[in-house]
Symmetry: D2
Subunit: 380 residues, 4 copies
C-alpha cells in the first residue's frame, strides 16, 4: 500500500507518497498528515495485487495513473513527473523498510518512515548509507517526540532547570500479548512476533520508543547497557518483556522496561527524569500533564500550553490548555515539521532521523547480545 500527498497552501511544492500495509498505523499516518493541512495523498502503491491496489487508490482519491503496482515503479514514475510527490510514507513491517526507503531516497524523494529503522542492522546500515548520499531527507516517526510537553521537557532540561541529570526511569508497558494471540489469526500480532519480519519483539516495537524518548528529552547518549529479555508467551519467538539497565553520558544512570505482557497496561509509556535540581514525570496516556518538582519546593503540575509555562510547549499545540490533544496531534506535529523542513520554512531540529534510527538499532542489538550472553554489559 502506498499513498502520495501534496502539501497545501504556501508549501505547494512539497509532495509525498506513502507506502504501507496499512492496518492501524497506516490510518494514523493518514490522519496525522491531514490535521495541519500540509499534505495530500496523490499517489500510492497500495497492494501487490493490481486489482486491490486500484480499489484502495480510488478509496483514497488517488488518480488511477498514480496507483502503482509496486514501489519500484512508483519511485521511478513519481521521480519522473513534474508534479511528482515530494515525500513518501513507509509504514510497512520492519523488514520492508529498506527496499522502498533506499529506492525513494535515490529517486530524490523525501522519506517518512515508521520505526524501528529496520528489522536488521544490515538493512539499517543500507538505509543510512543511502540517506548519506541522497539529497532527500529521512524522517523516522518516533511520534512521541511530537507531544508538546515532551518538547517542553527537553527544553527545560537543556536550559538546566533540572541541573545535572542523574537518573532516567523509562518504561513502555502494554498487555496485548499477555496471551499468544499471534496463534489466533491476529495479523498485527503475527508480524510483530515474527523474528524475520519484526527483528525483535517488545524491544523494537515499543522499547525503541522509550529509548528514543529518554535520549530526546535528556540529550544524553547511552554508553552501555545490560538487558534481561524474556519471551513469556508460550511458543513466542521474540521477546515480549525487556528489563534493561542503562549507563549514560556524564555519569547518568537509567532503567528501561518494555513489556507487552503486563495486564492492565494499554500504552503505558512513562518517563521520569531526575537531576541535581529537580525532577520531571510524564505519562503518555494523559499526555497533557507533566509534573515538575524543583528540589525543595512543591511539585508543579504543568499543562500543555498552560499557565506560567513559557512558550516551549505552546508552540506545538493547536488548541487552548484544558482541551486535550492526543496521539494523533503529536503525530501530526512530526508531519507539520517535515513539511516545514521540506519547504525550507523549518530546520527540522526536533525531527528524529537516521541517527536516531541507528541509535535504536544499536539499542535493539545490544540488548539482544547482552541477554544472549546471560545478561552482560554491552558497550558502544
Amino acid at each position: 500500500q502506498t499513498e502520495g500527498r501534496a502539501t497545501h497552501g504556501k508549501t505547494a511544492q512539497a509532495r509525498h507518497g506513502r507506502r504501507g500495509r496499512g492496518a492501524f498505523i497506516g490510518a494514523v499516518h493518514r490522519i496525522a498528515s491531514r490535521i495541519d493541512d500540509r499534505w495530500e495523498v496523490v499517489a500510492g502503491a497500495l497492494s501487490s495485487d493490481p486489482e486491490r491496489a486500484r480499489a484502495s487508490a480510488a478509496d483514497l482519491g488517488i488518480a488511477p495513473d498514480r496507483a502503482y503496482a509496486s514501489w519500484e515503479e512508483m519511485a521511478r514514475a513519481e521521480a519522473a513527473r513534474e508534479d511528482g510527490i515530494d515525500a513518501v510514507a513507509i509504514v510497512t513491517p520492519n523488514h520492508m523498510h529498506a527496499g522502498p526507503a533506499i529506492a525513494f531516497l535515490k529517486a530524490g524523494i523525501h522519506v517518512i518512515c515508521d520505526k524501528p529503522l529496520a528489522a536488521t542492522s544490515d538493512q539499517a546500515d543500507a538505509i543510512a548509507a543511502a540517506a548519506r548520499e541522497a539529497s532527500a531527507r529521512f524522517v523516522l516517526t518516533h511520534n512521541y517526540t511530537g507531544y508538546p510537553l515532551i518538547r517542553q521537557a527537553r527544553a527545560m532540561i537543556a536550559a538546566g532547570e533540572l541541573g545535572e541529570i542523574r537518573l532516567v526511569q523509562a518504561e513502555y508497558a502494554q498487555d496485548w500479548l499477555t496471551e499468544s494471540v499471534e496463534a489466533t489469526g491476529n495479523k498485527q500480532a503475527a508480524w510483530r512476533t515474527d523474528p524475520a519480519q519484526a527483528g525483535a519483539g517488545a524491544l523494537g516495537d515499543i522499547g525503541t520508543h522509550a529509548f528514543n524518548l529518554l535520549s530526546f528529552v535528556t540529550g544524553l547518549r547511552t554508553e552501555a547497557l545490560l538487558a534481561d529479555l524474556q519471551s513469556f508467551g508460550p511458543g513466542r519467538r521474540v521477546d515480549d518483556n525487556a528489563h534493561v539497565l542503562l549507563r549514560l553520558e556524564r555519569g547518568a544512570r537509567g532503567m528501561l522496561w518494555a513489556s507487552q505482557v503486563a495486564p492492565g497496561n494499554e500504552n503505558g509509556l512513562r518517563l521520569r527524569v531526575y537531576g541535581t535540581k529537580g525532577g520531571l514525570e510524564w505519562g503518555q496516556e494523559n499526555p497533557n500533564v507533566m509534573t515538575f518538582a524543583p528540589f525543595g519546593e512543591p511539585k508543579r503540575i504543568l499543562t500543555r500550553g498552560g499557565a506560567g509555562l513559557g512558550g516551549s510547549s505552546a508552540q506545538f499545540t493547536r488548541i487552548p490548555p484544558g482541551h486535550p490533544e492526543g496521539y494523533l496531534e503529536a503525530f501530526a506535529t512530526l508531519y507539520a515539521d517535515a513539511a516545514d523542513l521540506i519547504a525550507g520554512t523549518g530546520d527540522g531540529a526536533l525531527l528524529p532521523g537516521i541517527a536516531d534510527g541507528l541509535d535504536g538499532m544499536w539499542f535493539i542489538s545490544a540488548c539482544q547480545r547482552s541477554s544472549a550472553a546471560g545478561g552482560q554489559w554491552v558497550t558502544r
Copy 2:
C-alpha cells in the same frame, strides 16, 4: 469569514462551506472537518473587507470565484452552482448565527452551527422556524457529545446499567476570566462578555455545554431549575459564575456549576451520574477514562475502546486504547456524523440539532429569569 468544503471519497456529492470570524474555534472546525477526510473547504465569505476576504480564501485554497464578500451572496451563489457546497459552518459570535443560518437553510444548504444557538430567544426561534421549513439539516456543535466515552455513558444508561437515575452533578469550570481581561484588549473575552454579542456569559459559553451533556447522557429532560448568577469580574456585564439546581424528569435531581473565575481550572467539564444500581464519573480533561461503579462492587476504570467495554465507545474512535484521543477527535466525530447524515449513510441520531439548541436557550433564559427574581424556581 466563510469556507466551503467538499467531502472526499464515496460521499463526493456532499459539500459544505464555512462561515466564521475565526479565532480559536474557527481553526478547530477546520481541523475537525479534516480529520476523517470527509470534507473539503471550497468556498467562503471570509471577511467583509474584500481585500482580506480574498487573501484569506487564497490561504485556505479556495478558488477566487468562490471567495465571497458576504454570506448573503455566498448562499445565493453556492445554491445556484451545480457543484455548490452542501453544508456551511457558522462559527461567528452568538448574535451572528441567525442571519447566515436562516439564509443557508432557505437556500437548501445544510448548516453546522456553533453553540449556543443564538444570543436571544427571538433569534433562536427564527432559526428553528427556518429549520422546520427547510429540507436542509441543522447541526449544533455541542462537540463534547462526540467523546467516545460520553456516547458509551449514554448507551449504558439507556441500557439500564445504572438503574433509575437519581442524581446528576455537572460542572464546567474555567479560570480565564478571573481578572477582567476583556478590558485589556483580549478579543475573545471582549465579545464573550458583551451582552449584545453573547447574550449571556459563562451560562451560554460553557453552561450550555454542561447542560447539553447531562441531557444527552441521561436522556432526561429538565423540568425546572433555580439559578444564582454572579458577575465577579469588576465591571463585567455578563455572568461569570452560575450555580444552578435542577429538577429533571422521573424525580431525578441535579446540580450544575459553570464558572470562568475558578483559578486552576482550564476546561474542567465534569459529569457524574448516579442511579439506583450504579454511578458513572467522567472528566473532559482526561476524556479517555471513565469510572463506573456498580453498587456493591469495586469501581471500574473504563477506557476508550478498552478491555471489556463492548462496542459502544470503540465505534467512535480511530486508534487503539491507551493512545489518547482528544478534543479535536471528538469534534471530528460530529463532522463525520454530519457527513454520514448528509450522504444518507447515517441517521444522525446522536447529532445535536435544533431541539438541543432550543433546550440550551431555555436553560440560559430560565437561569437569567430565576436569578433576576432573586433565585426562584422556573418551570418549563
Copy 3:
C-alpha cells in the same frame, strides 16, 4: 457506654470519661485519644444493663468502682472524686447528646461531643446555655478540621494567599444508603435514618461536616441558603440527598452537596475554594495532598508537611511527608488540642465548639425549612 480517661505525662491532672453507644465511632474516639498518649480511659457508664456495663468496663481496663450504671451517676460520682475525670466523650446518637452533655458541664467536667450538636434546635440551645454557664469547656468533634492540610488551607486563606474568596464548592458523597439497608437490621442505618434519633439524614450526618469545613477553612459565615432535599431510599423518613446553594459574607457564593445515595462514593468529602488570586482543592480520601493554583501560575501539589510548605501543616503531623496520615490521626489532633486546652498549654483556637455546633444546627434547620417551602431562600 461511658469511658473515662486520664491524661499521661505532664498534664496528669487532666482526665476525661467517655460516653457512647459505641459502634464505629466509639472505637474511633478511643483510638484517637490514645494516639498522642494524652488520655486514659478511667471511668465509664457503658450500658444501661448493669451486667453488660461491668463486662465492657473490664474490657477497657476500667476499675469496677468507676463502671457506672448511668451517666447521671457517673457525672455525680466523678465530680465528687479527688481523681475524677476531667473530660467525658459523648458519642451517642444525636438525640442523646443533650442529657449527658448538660449533666457533665454542670458537674464541671469538660465535654468532648460528637456532631451534630443535637437532634433538635431545642436540645442544642439547652446545651449551649449550659456551656455558657459552665466553667468546663465544650469540644465538638468536627474531626476533619484536624487534617493538617485543612489547617494549612485555613492559614493560607487567612494570610490572603487566595485573595478575596469568591466561591466555595463543598461536597460529601457516600453510597451506603443507596438501598434501604435500614430495613435489613443495620443498626447504624437504623438510628441514622430515624428522625427522632438523628433529627436529619445526610444533612446532619455528613452535610454538617461539609458545612463546618467550608466555614472553618474560609472563615466566612453563611448568611443565606436554599436547599432541595430528597429521600430517594424507598420508605426513608429522612433526607438522603441534599443540594444546597449558599450565600456567604462579603459576596462569596457556594454550593454544597451531601449524599448517601451516590454509588461509588465512600467518604467523598471534598472542598474547593476560589478567590481573586488563586484556588485550593482538597479531598478527604487522599488527605495528604492538596492542590494550590496561584492564578496565572502552574498548579502546585502541596503535601502534608512537604517541601516548601511552611509550618502550617507540619505542626499538626507526626511523621514525615510521604508517609500518609489518615482519619484517625486527624481525629487524634482534636484530642491532643483538647488536652492542651484543658491543661492550659494551648488556647484551643482551632477546636470546634458550641458556636460551630449552633451554626451546624442552623444549617440543618434552614435547609429543612427551605426545602419544605419548595426551595426558598432562608436568611439567618
Copy 4:
C-alpha cells in the same frame, strides 16, 4: 533509649520494652504500639547518660526503678522481675541491633526490631543464631506488610487470581538525600550515610523494604540479582541509588529501583505485579487504593475494606472504607499481630521475622557484590 510496655486487657501477661535512639522512628513505634491498646511502656534504657535516661523515662511515664542505664542491665533486671517486660523494641541504628537483640533473646524476652536486620552479615547471623536457640520470638518491622491492601494482594496472588506470576516491578523513591545533607548536621542523614552504622545506603534503608514487599506479596524467592549502585551525593560513602534486576522462582523476573536522590519523591514505595491472568498496582503514598486488572476486563479500583473485596483486607483495618488509614495504622497492625503471637491468640503467620531479615541481608550484600564486580549476576 529504651522503653518498656505492658499490654492491656486480655493479654495482660504480654509486656515489652523498647530500645532506640529515638528520632522519627522511635516515636512511630510508640504510637504504633498504642493504637490498638495492646502495649504499654513500662521500662527503658533511654540514654547512656544517666541524667538524660531518667528525664526521658519520666517523660514516658516509666517508673524510676525501671529506667535503666544500659540495655545489658535492662535485659538482666527485667528478666528477673515477676512483672518483667515481655518484649523489647529495638529502634537503634543498624549496627546496634545485634547487641541488645541477642541479649534480650537470651533473657527470654521477645524482640521487635527495626529493619534491616543489621549492618553486617556477621551481626545478622549472630542474631539469627540467638533467635534459633531462644524461646522468645523475633519480629522485624517491615511495616509496609501491615497495609491492608498489601495483605489483600498477597492473598489474591496466593489464591491464583493473577495466574502464574511473570513480572514484579518494585520501587522505593525518595529525594531527601538529593543534596549532601549529611554534611550539614542532619543526624538522621549522618548515621544513615555512615557505612559503619548503616552498612548500606538506599539499599538497606528503603531497598530492603521494596525487596521484602515484593517477596511478601508474591511469595516468590529471588534466586539471582544484578545491581548497579551509585553514590550521587558528593562525598557520600554509601549508595544513594540502586538499580537492580531480579530473577525469581518459577521464571518470574523483576526490577527494583531504590533511590534517595529523585526530586519530587517523598516515600514513593510502589509495587506492580503481573501474571498470566491479571495485574495489581499499589503505591504507599495513597495506600487505601489498589488497582486490579483481570486480563481482558476493565481495571478495578479496590479500596481498603471496600465493596466486593472479600475479607482479606477488611480484617486488618479499624475504620470504614473511604476514611483513610495510613502509615501508623499499618505499623500498628504489626504490633497487634505481635501481641497476638505472644499471647497465643494468633500465629503470627504474616509477621516478618528472622528469615525475612536474612533475606534482606542477602539482598544488600548480593547487590553490593554485584555492583562491585561491575554489575554481574549474583546467585544465592
